[in-house]
Symmetry: C2
């Protein structure tokens, strides 16, 4: 693992690389994104990339972390310790889906691409765990606030919601519609309210 940049300029370069790689890998896949394209899109050079990353796999790990941040940024109800409204989260999810023009999930799109790489697979699984825990926190608050059935299991429900989100985003992406995602989430919510 290479050290983080020591200067502000270095940080800007590193971030530009990660963001460009994230965009390209989201659209074209990991294997479908050459390093050179990342350099062009980020306006950097090869020496900079290999100065901050050990190689493509290391860069990809940084992209995965960056993508979870993007996802959680688009779902502020998960980070708001006062929010107990699952509908608000639902709307945030659908809004982000619409804003992405029904594109793939920033994180889920990589699930089918890390099959043969145990390192990436492990990292991705950990990030999904974080995401699920964040959802479980919101469900826990909703239970405490009496907004759902009292015997609702937060962890199990969070898993079901995340599953619905992933499947719904994938199907919605394929047919260019928000309906699969809305349908899937609403069905899960109907089982606890």
């Amino acid at each position: 693992m290479k050290p983080m940049p020591a200067t502000a300029k270095g940080r800007r370069s590193r971030i530009a690389i990660v963001e460009a790689a994230a965009g390209l890998m989201h659209d074209q896949g990991i294997a479908g994104t050459p390093i050179d394209d990342v350099l062009t899109a980020s306006g950097t050079g090869k020496s900079q990339l290999y100065h901050y990353f050990d190689g493509k796999q290391d860069l990809t790990v940084a992209v995965l972390y960056h993508q979870l941040d993007r996802v959680l940024d688009s779902q502020p109800s998960l980070r708001d310790p006062d929010c107990t409204d699952l509908r608000r989260w639902r709307d945030e999810v659908l809004h982000a889906h619409h804003r992405n023009h029904f594109g793939n999930c920033p994180l889920g799109v990589f699930a089918g691409q890390v099959g043969d790489d145990p390192v990436l697979r492990q990292e991705l699984a950990g990030l999904f765990d974080q995401w699920q825990q964040a959802i479980a926190g919101l469900v826990t608050r909703a239970v405490a606030a009496g907004r759902v059935h009292p015997d609702t299991d937060p962890v199990s429900t969070a898993l079901a919601l995340l599953t619905a989100l992933q499947g719904g985003t994938m199907l919605g992406c394929l047919r260019g519609s928000e309906h699969p995602l809305a349908e899937a989430i609403d069905r899960v919510l109907s089982t606890i309210s």
Copy 2:
């Protein structure tokens, strides 16, 4: 589009190529599977592949069709016009998931890899539609047999089941467990029975 093989020998060669490509692409991704690996795994030569396919994209389309066949083969209740048992389908799905060692969905694994290729995307969307229609047929039979709520909408329910299957398979693959898939499908089933 190249013509189909005219002899039994040619058909065997073509099938060997598609099956080898399907296995490799499922494990390593489309972009991560070189043509040469397909040739080695199938025991064929480059001249045969380019004799039956226009190129990698054409081969990939054939792989997608082959994968839907594999999926429907593993879910015989969808093709059985007498089956009205959604639990049987549920068990078939979970059994296949377990048999695959919680690996990715044979078809869903490609959803995140066809982003920049409109041809592959369109083909994959059509195959998912076929899958959904097959599930909708089973749900329709279950409604007619009075095994679920009479006001169940088969198409909408089929979409929800397919969504749960995709999300559940993805999450189950990441954490090596059948729990996400079982949880997701059972939750949808609980909304109609």
